[in-house]
């Protein structure tokens, strides 16, 4: 995904589709996408299948969601993460930020 052609804002907005339940430690108020410890522990598959080895939860994300999670595993700085996303998707910075945070919010149900 990282080296793929730029995606549209609409494609980016189509984020997680999932099964299961749970809660998350995401701190949207501080505008961090994912606490790095949580992001790093996730097992990510090319297919978009995501497994959390601590909670036992699994769910699927689309290509854009996978790109966000992969970046979150290596990039703790939110501004840099959003900047890297903007390099991959054909959308405004504001759209990227809004949709990334929306994605993080939706993940609350799947990641502890």
């Amino acid at each position: 995904m990282i080296n793929a052609a730029k995606k549209t804002a609409a494609e980016f907005r189509e984020t997680a589709a999932a099964t299961g339940g749970g809660r998350t430690a995401l701190k949207l108020a501080h505008q961090s996408i994912f606490p790095s410890a949580i992001a790093r522990r996730l097992a990510l598959s090319e297919s978009g299948f995501v497994f959390d080895p601590v909670s036992g939860q699994s769910f699927t994300v689309n290509e854009a969601g996978l790109a966000v999670l992969r970046l979150a595993q290596v990039e703790e700085d939110v501004a840099k993460l959003l900047s890297k996303l903007a390099e991959q998707f054909d959308a405004t910075a504001e759209e990227i930020k809004r949709d990334a945070l929306d994605f993080a919010e939706r993940l609350k149900d799947f990641i502890k």
Binding site: G20, G22, R23, A25, A43, F51, P53, V54, S55, G56, Q57, S58, K112
Partner: protein, 355 residues
């Protein structure tokens, strides 16, 4: 030399199986040469007849018949089967086996059981005390002897919904006093008094099966998150997980009690991430075959410890391995069934002719 291991808990109702058959399956995969003797209490315990995992099945006297009867029966079976190791798998028999452990050892039957004091410490009505000793959070828990408690408990700070639990088995969620009284009466009739009331902690249950080395250490553990439940709330499917805090809780439990043998921790992770101890089972859980599935065969480990072997603590098990339970039918000849009914054993006698 091949071992003979006797295993109790051969009951296996589809919605609430005993652990015995799963323990037998673990040991069968550990060493195909191990002779496995299944011990049960009912003629319809399917593990007694399951020749894939159990070589011979025998009935035991009910725990209510007393420890002398239990010891006499085990020693009688020992003369025939030369039992090397015995693994007890049911809560209701653990105290009896702990009390006859010395006699069993003298006869050459090794066990690796918690003693009576350790068993008492993990009783549901003493969980708060254990929690304090081990540094584990425990939901508010109280013994209840009269159903009238439930109509006045809100004045004492309790809030509905709450859990009503039996001393050995069973738990019901009660949303009001009327529901709580019904649960109290049903559980008291089946399991006796006291009945326990426990505050409800909203959250996700996580489970750990482990083996304490009897010296304060955790010899091995497998962690699991249930992913599908039966109507009784028993795990029908689950997945192995790795939760460092859960593992540390088990280590603290073993250190505080010097636990000896298999156990299961049932804990809840609340919405803020806190971990709370809701129950400790003093034996392997029915899902113990997952331990063999993730390469951390805990019944095998217990057999080694029972034999006095030195073992290194097992490394953490890999996360992401599922179990999905299924039910199957065991075919039993009339002769085998006759032998269980008449002699308490599955050894086939002469042909029984049917019209």
């Amino acid at each position: 030399m091949n071992l003979t291991v006797a295993i109790t808990g051969m009951n296996a109702r589809a919605d609430n199986p005993g652990p015995g058959l799963a323990v037998a399956r673990c040991l069968r995969e550990s060493d195909a040469g191990t002779r496995i003797v299944g011990l049960g209490y009912e003629a319809l315990d399917p593990g007694l007849y399951h020749r894939g995992y159990v070589d011979a099945g025998y009935l035991l006297p009910y725990p209510s018949h007393g420890e002398d009867a239990l010891l006499a029966r085990i020693l009688e079976l020992h003369q025939r089967e030369h039992i090397d190791v015995l693994i007890a798998c049911l809560d209701s028999e653990m105290l009896s086996f702990a009390r006859i452990e010395a006699e069993l050892n003298n006869a050459g039957i090794r066990t690796f059981l918690p003693d009576a004091q350790q068993l008492a410490l993990r009783n549901k009505d003493r969980l708060p005390e254990l929690g304090e000793r081990a540094g584990l959070s425990v939901p508010q828990t109280q013994s209840v002897y009269q159903s009238a408690f439930f109509y006045g408990c809100e004045a004492e700070g309790w809030r509905y919904p709450l859990m009503v639990k039996g001393l050995f088995y069973d738990a019901k969620l009660a949303h009001n006093a009327d529901e709580a009284v019904v649960a109290f009466q049903r559980i008291a009739a089946e399991w006796g008094l006291p009945v326990l009331v426990q505050s409800l902690v909203p959250g996700e249950e996580v489970n750990l099966a482990g083996v304490g080395d009897g010296k304060g250490g955790l010899a091995g553990a497998v962690m699991m998150k249930k992913r599908a439940l039966t109507d009784k709330g028993k795990g029908w499917a689950g997945i192995s997980i790795y939760d460092e805090e859960l593992l540390q809780s088990a280590q603290r439990f073993c250190a505080a009690t010097r636990w000896r043998g298999g156990f299961e921790l049932e804990m809840l992770r609340d919405e803020k991430g806190g971990l709370h101890l809701i129950e400790i089972n003093p034996r392997f859980p029915a899902w113990i075959y997952l331990s063999a599935g993730v390469g951390r065969n805990l019944p095998e480990l217990q057999v080694k410890l029972a034999q006095g072997q030195r073992v290194l603590p097992l490394l953490p098990a890999p996360a992401g391995i599922w179990f999905i339970r299924y039910a199957e039918e065991v075919i039993v000849s009339l002769a085998e069934f006759e032998n269980i009914i008449v002699r308490g054993e599955t050894r086939e006698a002469g042909e029984l002719q049917c019209a």
